[in-house]
């Protein structure tokens, strides 16, 4: 295995397939990132709600 491209322009062009290759990679990495943000957000929200619940129960007791 070795580097297959001689210039950045050649790399970006991807033969004549740049218009298909780059959106594929972009979309995939976008969804990879979104899933991380999304999962973390849900966990944080669940932790906040659980804390609130605990506080309310402590108050009542």
């Amino acid at each position: 295995m070795m580097i297959q491209f001689h210039s950045l322009a050649q790399f970006l062009a991807m033969g004549k397939y740049g218009a298909y290759v780059w959106p594929s990679y972009g979309l995939t990495l976008l969804v990879v990132g979104l899933n991380i943000t999304w999962a973390r957000g849900l966990l944080r929200q669940a932790q906040l709600e659980a804390r609130r619940r605990l506080a309310m129960q402590a108050q009542r007791a």
Binding site: M1, M2, I3, Q4, F5, F11, M14, G15, K16, Y17, Y20, V21, P23, S24, Y25, L27, T28, V31, V32, L34, N35, I36, W38, A39, R40, L42, L43, Q45, A46, Q47, E49, A50, R51, R53, L54, Q57
Partner: protein, 244 residues
Amino acid sequence: MTWTWFHRLGSPPYVYRLAGRLTPWFGWSAGVLILAGLVGGLVLAPPDYQQGDGFRIIYVHAPTAWLSLMIYTWMGVAAAVGLIWRIKVSHAVAAACAPVGASFTAVALATGSLFGKPMWGTWWVWTPRLTSELLLLFLYMGYMGLRASFDDTQRADRASAVLAVVGIVNVPIVHYSVVWWNDLHQASSLSLAGKDTIATSMLVPLLVSLLGFTLYFGAIVLVRLRGEILRRERATDWIREALA
């Protein structure tokens, strides 16, 4: 052999802590492998003799398509275990899988479209592989829609689990569609039994990428699972301890 480890996997506090401990291991190894796989696929693998540099789409298309099927299988099996043995954690796993699986099924379809246009001359054809993969997306969405239609988590678990289990029949159909029917989609390049029909220099980045995406799914589902468990648990003692 003792079965205590299996019983512990049904215990929400244990699974909550275990998931928290495992997440960074899955996450970081996934990050390294995905990066290595994509660099290998984009830069190091030689161009295909027919598809040129366009074939590099395979390094994101195959892993996302693999995730779409693997995640559904996890979801269906977890749902079945939840139904049969009434294990809450198992239903939580299934619920955590669905949105991740749906998003990667959509990506597999989209990258497949971007692959199909230059290679086949069309964005979409109604062949068995493409149609059954689209059905997979609808199954995920149906599962999530069904869950959302119940206020009661337990009823949502049971009803959606039935759908998830029934939908498992679609998984082998997607996988074998290119074998059973004469599909426009190419046959698999990887095989567990026979020999791979792909050059080693192209294969290595693909395997690295597949492993990376698989571990990535592990990390995501572990984080989501902790959220699911917290929302379901009403017992407070261990939650107070876990959140301290």
